[in-house]
Symmetry: C2
Subunit: 392 residues, 2 copies
Amino acid sequence: MKIESVDLFYVAMPEIRDVGDGSQDALLVRIQVGEYVGWGECDASPLTSIASFVCPMSHSACKPVRDSVVGQPLDDCADIRRIGDRVRANSLDLLQADHTLSGIDIALWDALGHRLGEPVYRLLGYRQATPKLPYASQLFGDTPQETLHKARLVRALGYRAAKFGWGPFGTGALDADIDHVQAAREGLGPEGVLLIDAGTVWGDDVERAAPRLEVLQQCQVTWLEEPFTSGALDAYRQLARLSGKVRLAGGEGCHNYAMAEHMLNYAGIGYIQIDAGRIGGISVAKRVVDAAHACGVTYVNHTFTSHLALSASLQPYAGSDADLLCEYPVETSPLAQSITRERIMPDQDGMIRLPERPGLGVTPDLAALAPYLVDVEIRVGRQVVYRTPELR
Amino acid sequence: MKIESVDLFYVAMPEIRDVGDGSQDALLVRIQVGEYVGWGECDASPLTSIASFVCPMSHSACKPVRDSVVGQPLDDCADIRRIGDRVRANSLDLLQADHTLSGIDIALWDALGHRLGEPVYRLLGYRQATPKLPYASQLFGDTPQETLHKARLVRALGYRAAKFGWGPFGTGALDADIDHVQAAREGLGPEGVLLIDAGTVWGDDVERAAPRLEVLQQCQVTWLEEPFTSGALDAYRQLARLSGKVRLAGGEGCHNYAMAEHMLNYAGIGYIQIDAGRIGGISVAKRVVDAAHACGVTYVNHTFTSHLALSASLQPYAGSDADLLCEYPVETSPLAQSITRERIMPDQDGMIRLPERPGLGVTPDLAALAPYLVDVEIRVGRQVVYRTPELR
């Protein structure tokens, strides 16, 4: 069967706030293959990714992503990997292409799952999806008092693990950071798994990061996430030598397999966090799972948006018992909550289980999404190269 | 003085052919700072880069590039570096941003050079620009006979160094590649510096690359360029161990400092090739020059487009005697040849010297460019977020 069409839908909250909440907009991908439909989501700038999909060719290694996808056969898993390779070769010099490919790859797996009547994780070779321990992923409060309140709240909601990130952390004085971490530990209680996310705030500056390690060790923080930007491998490795029981985590910025491999080989991390909506989709994420296992690094999803993105990010390591934790977004926008009809909720044990349905097991709620649809038109010369498709 | 405006111009040949000629279109950047104007050029998909410049904000780390540039002060070199850091932080999750920033950074250096009455290389700390030995950069012929003809031609034109790349090389049988390399050496004569560019054709497959080393050694090839994609550090290092006197070259795919640093630290290369129009501009390229010198790797520009891009790519290592070679595009499109009024030609010794004029020392030829201007309009909701500005 051939890929008949690939449609991109830009959805956004009416007002986008200048905060670290990546769920305020989304780029959804719909793929039609015969009678089967697959959906995916890119964690990417929607307008820029749309442009990379429809842009005129610049030369043989800078083609629009669309040209490598539409019309291709989709009969088995190998076809999805082949399409990914086509995109990477034909759009080698198109930087945005990896982000755009991510949502397409996810939609291809969803469509193939529907066609073959199997959940994606089974197509990836797992016999079953093991339960994951969700950590409530949220922003630090503006004040330590607010962080304390948020930590108490997630504990009261039954979460046994929580992550606090971004917000004021790392931007000001050491004392303020200490207060925030201690507040998070106090609110979560002594037993909870506590994770801290620095959101790349120290660039590649080990000297600024290192003084924070003491409070992280005292408060039994499991990991310190993204002290540095993804490429700062030396800085990661230097900090990892100092961090003791607190392991470093990173990888959400990886937008291809090679970047993740560099993190595994050279950064000294204990956890690698991959967003299937950025790294090139489920296919590339699964390669990283296998590579992480080969070198003793624990794999975790990165997801801060919808339950469609959540399902996509969980599939690549669904059957891996050793990788217990999963990121679970708890304070996403009303838009992100509207994206799917089904939701992936903690069960009575507080664990997350992937749906036992074909494909991703979640489907977009088109009626709920309609108010968020952004109307876009791109014209090049006399030709309209993109116009928001009908959402139905 | 404040940056008053940043305008992007998409120019393209009337017909774009499906060949490895990156000079068929361009994205030019014009920056107005008080009475001073600076120009830059991105080696990037023009429409996608325009979108990254004007896209609506997605969240605090995914803002349009424009927001980090327009209105900023530009009084000295530190301002340019600060603006680059702003773009990288505010557009952390916008993959295309590095390509877009590249042209902006170049235009900022050009504008500052005009304002201070100095060539850019002097603002970078070099007292003088030393002459560079240009290598004629061109595609392989479709047949060995054609490659022979092209090599004889560049030799007759006075070039003492030439690079052949892309085309059929590496895509077919070993024998065909041997014939092409031998033809290039025969045409160039025994004394010429011969460079071979595989254009990432072997992905990360050392087994496919290694059998080509013998003919490269026999034909005294100085470097084998891009046997693999930029991120394939392990593959590079493995091949480097086998390559003997033939050194590996790579780096044109680097779109930030960290990627170049990884090539220097882990890939075993002898030459690092940086395109100022991709890596984030002159500022980032200069950082790579300094890092390369610190670890004994030779720096070379990557340029396959206009003489504006050529000047920008030469400035970062203009004063470095040790880095003698420079890439010099010899078969660019009529568009690329129209971009500047001034051209940087080999002198009577066959050497390239940067202009001793303020800024980049070359200026766009607006009248010649006008026929190539692509009319673009991007509408989001009811708002036109981009419309091709007037070129005057």
